[in-house]
């Protein structure tokens, strides 16, 4: 039940409603039904939905070394433009196991231009053949 309330609240806010008004309405509605005890659970479920939505929108550029990040941002420029993401909103993450190149992740998309992925690809082709 708490999840359903949280989801409904999220949808109302996504629709453009003012947070204060939406919360007041929710509070009154719960009070009228004698379900005020659900409020903490609804808050937790709402936080989860919000965290999930935020994670969905985060775009991460993974590089093997910090020094590679500028070049990687340049190379990924077209992809970021297509996705409507400003380079300043991109989170840079260092992952040494990528060996080189870069990997762009976020908004249900993945572009793997890392050296590790390319070497794995060659390894699979050689071992399959």
């Amino acid at each position: 039940m708490d999840k359903a309330y949280a989801k409904a609240l999220w949808n109302i806010l996504e629709g453009g409603a003012k947070p204060k008004g939406a919360l007041n309405t929710l509070h009154e509605s719960l009070k009228a039904r004698g379900r005020l005890g659900l409020l903490p659970k609804i808050a937790r479920a709402f936080a989860l939905i919000a965290a999930r939505a935020e994670a969905k929108n985060v775009v991460v550029l993974k590089v093997a070394r910090k020094s590679d990040s500028r070049r990687a941002l340049n190379e990924a420029g077209e992809l970021l433009k297509d996705a409507g993401v400003r380079p300043s909103d991109v989170k840079i993450d260092i992952q040494e196991n990528l060996i080189g190149g870069w990997r762009l992740e976020g908004r249900e998309r993945l572009h793997d231009a890392s050296h590790k992925a390319q070497l794995m690809d060659i390894y699979e082709r050689v071992s399959e053949g």
């Binding site: 998309r109 993945l110 572009h111 992925a117 690809d121 060659i122």
Partner: protein, 522 residues
């Protein structure tokens, strides 16, 4: 050797072009019991294959050791994500893992190379005989052929079992259910039917596919050994989803089997597919559905349990000449509990199929094997595919047996029987003996016709019941040696002409004179 590997690597590097484009992905939010919930993948379609990215976050060396690609199958599309089943070792999947959309629908390899092989529900070789070099990928889920593409079932599929070929005949393209309690000989009938195809000419011999669902590995190994020993493996493919396999593979195995069969059917070949058994597939599907949080219905099966079997069995067909004239015959097996054919899954499958062979545990325990209850067994389309020869000798068989069963029950209360009734009972007893058959020894159609012709002519009336089987074997041997031309004629023409009948009568008389000892022991 080393030089060639180095050269191969150099070649691959030289012609390597990096994968272009963006992949659509999702993240695993929960995993358990072979089912994963995935956040994202909003463009995924039902039945799509997804790939779990195991190498992310690992070093190159560890990535190479990860044990090959691991795939999943999308079975639920939800508001904020999808649910998929893992087609492999679920221990390799963890929360937070990236899942890639492949845009592919599940398919399995098929082709001549699969003949004589044992493969998994995903078409991977399980027999250690190496990978397949050249195969064609066939979609696991495919729409069945429509009315226009089909023709009437008209060619018999000989099982080599007298009781079936005479009274419950099966045609090529038919769906005949084999149903009964555990240990009543269901698998034996199916295996005998495969072995008997050896008696067919190579160009008309059906490709046989045995799909083992939720079976013990030891049982499947025994079946493979039996088929190998009988020389049936060169035209047989085994699809194995053992009891130890994930529920997803047990659910998919029959579809994989029919997809492999459709390749041959589309090429104009005849195919026989055995699903052993669909009760276990239904159980696996129930498990998956409950884990996928689909609403449970009767006996906790999901609402689409009927469709699970109907869409599988509808893929059996006898194709028109325009479509190549191939056929796919299905022998699904259903295991009942305490002989209850009226429970949920059995009634579903009975209503889908074109008839059923019911195996009775009480007959089995009486030593009547195959333990077919001819009273409730039926073949709805097979009679049009029965040869004239078989029709002419088996026309009254069902009636004789039905009368015998009724009189046998009555006999338990009656002390004195009139001569006619006693004769009928004795005749029925002998007929039951004639229809008995050892497992693994199917009999070719022409020999069945000869034996049933003899039985119809009351040839066994003077033979002691305990000697009927021995007499029958001796008769078949005698005919095989002395009257092979006549047997060949029955096989070729599929009929028993008046001239042939006269020759058979002479043969029976000769046999009687040569084996007097068998006809005196009352």
């Amino acid at each position: 050797m080393e030089q060639s590997i180095v050269q191969k690597i150099i070649n691959e590097i030289e012609r390597y072009t990096p994968k272009a484009g963006v992949e659509h992905v999702g993240k695993i939010t929960s995993v358990g019991d072979g089912v994963v919930a995935i956040d994202g993948l909003s463009r995924a379609v039902m039945g799509e294959i997804v790939e779990f990215e195991e190498t992310a976050g690992k070093t190159l060396a560890k990535g190479m050791d990860s044990g090959g690609a691991l795939y999943g199958l999308i079975l639920n599309l939800e508001e904020d994500g999808v649910r998929a089943t893992i087609l492999g070792d679920s221990a390799r999947v963890h929360e937070g893992m990236t899942v890639k959309s492949t845009g592919r629908i599940l398919s399995v390899p098929s082709g001549d190379e699969l003949l004589g092989r044992v493969v998994s529900a995903l078409g991977e070789p399980l027999d250690g005989k190496g990978p397949f070099a050249k195969t064609t990928m066939m979609p696991v889920e495919r729409e069945s052929y429509g009315v226009i593409d089909r023709k009437m079932v008209s060619v018999p599929l000989q099982t080599g079992i007298k009781a079936i070929d005479s009274m419950i005949p099966i045609g090529r393209g038919q769906r005949e259910l084999i149903i009964g309690d555990r240990s009543t000989g269901k698998t034996t009938i199916a295996i005998d039917a495969i072995i008997n195809q050896k008696n067919e000419p190579a160009d008309k011999r059906p490709i046989c596919i045995y799909v083992a669902i939720g079976q013990k590995e030891s049982k499947t190994a025994r079946i493979v050994a039996q088929l190998t020993e009988a020389g049936a493996m060169p035209y047989t493919i085994i699809v194995d989803a053992p009891a130890s396999a994930p529920a997803s593979l047990q659910f998919l195995a029959p579809y994989a089997g029919v997809a492999i069969g459709e390749y041959f059917m589309d090429k104009g070949r005849d195919v026989l597919v055995i699903y052993d058994d669909l009760s276990k597939q239904a159980t696996a599907y129930r498990q998956l559905s409950l884990l996928l949080r689909r609403p449970p219905g009767r006996e906790a099966y999901p609402g689409d349990i009927f469709y699970l079997h109907s869409r599988l069995l509808e893929r059996s067909a006898c194709l028109s000449e325009e479509k190549g004239g191939g056929s796919l015959t299905a022998l699904p097996i259903i295991e009942t509990q305490d002989g209850d054919v009226a429970s949920y899954i059995p009634t579903n499958v009975i209503s889908i199929t074109d008839g059923q062979i019911f195996l009775d545990s009480s007959l089995f325990n009486k030593g009547i094997r195959p333990a077919i209850d001819v009273g409730i067994s039926v073949s709805r389309v097979g009679s049009s595919a029965q040869t004239k020869a078989m029709k002419s000798v088996a026309g009254t068989l069902r009636l004789v047996l039905a009368q015998f069963r009724e009189l046998e029950a009555f006999m338990q209360f009656a002390q004195d029987l009139d001569k006619t009734t006693a004769e009928r009972i004795e005749s029925g007893r002998r007929m039951v003996e004639v229809l008995k058959q050892k497992n693994g020894s199917p009999i070719p159609m022409e020999k069945q016709v000869a034996v049933l012709y003899a039985a119809d002519k009351k040839f066994f009336a003077d033979v002691a019941i305990k000697n009927v089987s021995k007499t029958e074997t001796a008769l078949v041997e005698f005919l095989d040696g002395q009257y092979s031309k006549e047997l060949a004629e029955i096989k070729k023409t599929g009929a028993v002409s008046d001239g042939l009948k006269a020759k058979l009568n002479r043969a029976l008389e000769e046999f009687r004179l040569a084996h007097k000892e068998l006809f005196t022991d009352k």
